[in-house]
Symmetry: C2
């Protein structure tokens, strides 16, 4: 049930079996059907979710009803609304399942207790955040400096598994393009 979670955790911070057992008491499993919400806009996000199986996305909807996807999460990734999680403010993102999924949740309460009781958890969190920060910086640079075609190419080579599993118009949304533009970019690429 928590296999992948502990595999990833151990890659960052090695744990003994006893420690794993201790951590397990703070984790909550959750299953989600495709299209089901994990988090609705306006609710406070009182968890982070690790994806054992499946695929999710976080996104906003603007005044015109256009979806803006801010993040995908496949197996081994973590997803949530960090700002809301840390501040208790209502979430600005919505999260739902793109496929039937199995998650491992860490509630805000568990998070706070673990920070107090388990130094290894704080280290894990720091490393998680570091990775997320670097990935986001790369994406920001890409968004500001690169053309749609360059962004799509970079995305494809970084996340080939997402290209396989996720509808193209969602990738367009993630890249900040219209579906039409992405379609044209792709057709221009294959013609080359």
């Amino acid at each position: 049930m928590y296999d992948l979670f502990f595999q990833k955790f151990n890659e960052k911070v090695p744990l003994t079996k006893d420690e794993e057992g201790f951590f397990k008491t703070y984790l909550t499993p959750k299953k989600l059907r495709k299209k089901q919400y994990l988090l609705q806009e306006g609710d406070p996000c009182n968890f982070t979710a690790f994806v054992e199986k499946g695929a999710l996305r976080s996104y906003t909807i603007d005044e015109k009803g256009v979806e803006r996807i801010s993040q995908f999460a496949l197996e081994g990734w973590t997803i949530g609304d960090l700002y809301s999680f840390l501040t208790g403010e209502p979430a600005t993102y919505q999260i739902d399942a793109l496929e039937d999924s199995e998650l491992v949740l860490i509630s805000k309460q568990a998070h706070e207790e673990l920070l107090k009781k388990a130094p290894k958890y704080e280290t894990y969190m720091r490393l998680q955040l570091t990775g997320a920060y670097i990935a986001m910086q790369r994406r920001l640079t890409s968004s500001i400096s690169f053309s749609p075609e360059e962004r799509y190419i970079a995305f494809s080579s970084l996340y080939p598994d997402i290209i396989q599993r996720i509808p193209q118009h969602m990738i367009a949304s993630y890249l900040g393009l219209t579906p039409e533009t992405l379609s044209r970019v792709r057709s221009k690429m294959t013609r080359k």
Copy 2:
């Protein structure tokens, strides 16, 4: 010399005077003249720099010689190339001073020792990173979803001090615009 550094540190993680004294032994002061480099592309970034006084920027230069500013840092901010700092890889960013500046450096070596010896330092780092992550997420959303005018307005209200002190064409670069476009956006705004 380290006044602002410890003020900000204490806001995140309170320290006793003794602890401050302990931390001080790991810090290095540095002064920089306007236009001087703190970090050149290709050198590994073996420090993070806290700005006591002055202003800096980090940026890349693309094949065409165009500067892309990725970050500004005024008093109380921290700047560096986190990826390079953590991995030891050559830096992808350059950093230089926009005004005469006074910095507090934490070397990579100091960073690693502090992580081992001072749990409060790890907490401080985690909180720093969390804040940086949230700020970057906001900026990314802004970059993908908002028009140049909206981006400029958001930036102005978030960082009025930067608007005051930094040349406009650098703000354009940060926002991912040409200087001409930013100029026109501004003139359209005032005409309203």
